[in-house]
Symmetry: C2
Subunit: 455 residues, 2 copies
Amino acid sequence: VSLADALAEVLDAGRVADGESALDQHAADLSYHPPHRPDAVVFPETTEEVARVLAFADRERIPVVPFGAATSLEGHVIPVAGGISLDLGRLNRILSVEPADLTAVVEPGVTRLALNERLGRDGLQFPVDPGADATLGGMAATNASGTTTVRYGGMRAHVLALEVVLAGGGVIRTGSRARKSSAGYDLTSLFVGSEGTLGVITELALRVHGIPEHAVAIRIAFPDLDAACRAAVAIVGAGVSATRLELLDAETLRAVNAYKGTSYEEAPSLFVELSGSDQGVAGDLEAARELAEDATAFQAERDPTARSRLWEARHHVLFALVAASPGKEHLSTDVCVPVSHLPDAVRHARAEIDRQGLTGTVVAHAGDGNYHVLFMLDPADPSELERARALNAAIVEWALEHGGTCTGEHGIGLGKIDYLQREHGDLLPLMRGVKALLDPNGIMNPGKVLPSQPE
Amino acid sequence: VSLADALAEVLDAGRVADGESALDQHAADLSYHPPHRPDAVVFPETTEEVARVLAFADRERIPVVPFGAATSLEGHVIPVAGGISLDLGRLNRILSVEPADLTAVVEPGVTRLALNERLGRDGLQFPVDPGADATLGGMAATNASGTTTVRYGGMRAHVLALEVVLAGGGVIRTGSRARKSSAGYDLTSLFVGSEGTLGVITELALRVHGIPEHAVAIRIAFPDLDAACRAAVAIVGAGVSATRLELLDAETLRAVNAYKGTSYEEAPSLFVELSGSDQGVAGDLEAARELAEDATAFQAERDPTARSRLWEARHHVLFALVAASPGKEHLSTDVCVPVSHLPDAVRHARAEIDRQGLTGTVVAHAGDGNYHVLFMLDPADPSELERARALNAAIVEWALEHGGTCTGEHGIGLGKIDYLQREHGDLLPLMRGVKALLDPNGIMNPGKVLPSQPE
């Protein structure tokens, strides 16, 4: 019998697919990593169905790859060893919203925009914003963060409790609905960022926040990248309550203008959002204006439509680059360094880009010291891919030498396994031990995070 | 040879003690748990010396109990199985402060007040405030939090990176100096809150914060506990940027007045701190005044001395209770519930206190839903201890039924092992697995956190 037939015995046949299009849709993510098809796709609708799939797969030693919105950037959802793609898209219920507790409980297939639409009715928001409309299960699995992390923190700061199905089909519940706990080892934080290699998240209790009373979006252009970086570091240091603090280089603004028909200065720029009380925002706006002393342009927008237009420009950077390079695939570096090193880090990256003869743009979550060099490349051109990888390696090496990390928010997946070894070689035996404890037969998302051979 | 003699071979003899007074000083913490002496005390001065002690102890199967300032509240530092008390008090250097990165690197024996004294020179603060002048290593080990957690989070939100000596003497480094990372499994969060049972923290990289420009301290008295709780929940829900939001019941204020010579209304009260920009604080103060509609007194203090006086009253609650009950020992409950349940939780607790015929006072970190019932009891009176334990059990049961946790900030230690089993019974096999992975011979702080017999 085929795997799909066997799975149809485990679940209802309507929950299983192995047609060409289903397999293709579950073969790739947003990255340059080559697609690889699963052997079958399942669409469970309850925790109990997830547990049945995992018990079966564990017994039969079949790989299982949890699948959300496929917006991962390091091949996380690509079933490189075949097996089952576990599509959590039908587990998409918002189970509760408790405004008085500032919490929400969701299934893993709920996307962040769907959750925010529901929360908005109560004046609430879930601020973690990786750009794409990812699922909350996927965001937890990679410890995603993004533009608002400078103010609110990333996923780990927002996950209060998890329901997780373990490899053998057992179901556990970590954490509680309380805002804090010191009850034993922190297994919640262990599953957050485990990239589907330790179990399948089937429910999440999340912290949510009130929507600030007032907000202002600011675009500040600078004569050079250094000045922009310095201003970002100064804004963080001054304690201005920025909810977003993004850096875009001149090349990025060129691509944005071409894609959106805007006419922003094609110069290194900060996109900043301040929010809070009316008076607080007014005070912070003045402070930001003083700190950006070298600015060549300073555009502040209070009107919601104008604010949205500015942030849309930032959020569409990746689409703008894709549009400018038809037929190419996306590779992004993701190092994060102590904030004070950001100007040097970006200067170093820019020099390396030129040295490799590549065309890359730089965007940074400047308030966190996390920056991306984005390339569009032709995966069929080995020289281009090789130079991009050499560049990535040089950037990671610089970050590690300056107290940083190889990945601020994208995770390890397929693409950063060597860097994990470089960054945390001393921890790999422990990480392997944790993996063996939770997934003794190695069926959970094999080939991701940990090197396949003992180091 | 005695253990001390054997240890003098491992370390310098000047780093080892087994005199009566050294053993007594390392036999107890601040709680009601009966003291138990170690067989020897060591005072390592470097990571390498800690590693030598652990390698020796692991080889010889001798228990090792890390010891900071002995301010733990559940017997964490009591060497119930004898062995070595590892006093980290000489590892007390502040290794670096980086104002531009908002980070500091410290050894585990640095206390929070010592760190804050150093940070103050740069206009910075480390806000996590458990009341006592605990060591930062100890605070990380219990995932401590306290009065400022409503705004800044607890220890886990502040530890960026750790150096840890493992049971066998190996040294590892988790995390990085960057503000965020998605590089593999989160071992930093696993060691934070592990209560010395997985390894010994020998260095911490911490997030620090700027000292807010302006602050105001407020005392608000209410006609009853319910009204005070409701106001606290309303203040949290309104998004007022409180840095502290503490609830004290009438009995607590009575003890404070007697101890400090103050004349505060002996009524349920909120002690609130607002901070931020001048204008922001002014706006929040107005909002707080409106939200506390049932208040019978509203005292706002902007002057630093008057502010300190108010917070000193709050911080000296425990001393006030101790002074009122000479010869008695301290027991504190520590549940944390979703914030909206706090009024019901406190009402339930008050009824249970009366039912058991005990005298207890209630203080709450109301913004987090974390409250303590504090008793002074005579450990030699079995009936009193038994009633206090029955009360604690009833309070924990109520909290768990309402989505809470048995411990918001004190940890499990000796006193809450049964509650951990009740709260996270499904997780105990995993926690045991983690313990076996990191400490296969069970030498690290045995008898704490996990039940000694498999459940």
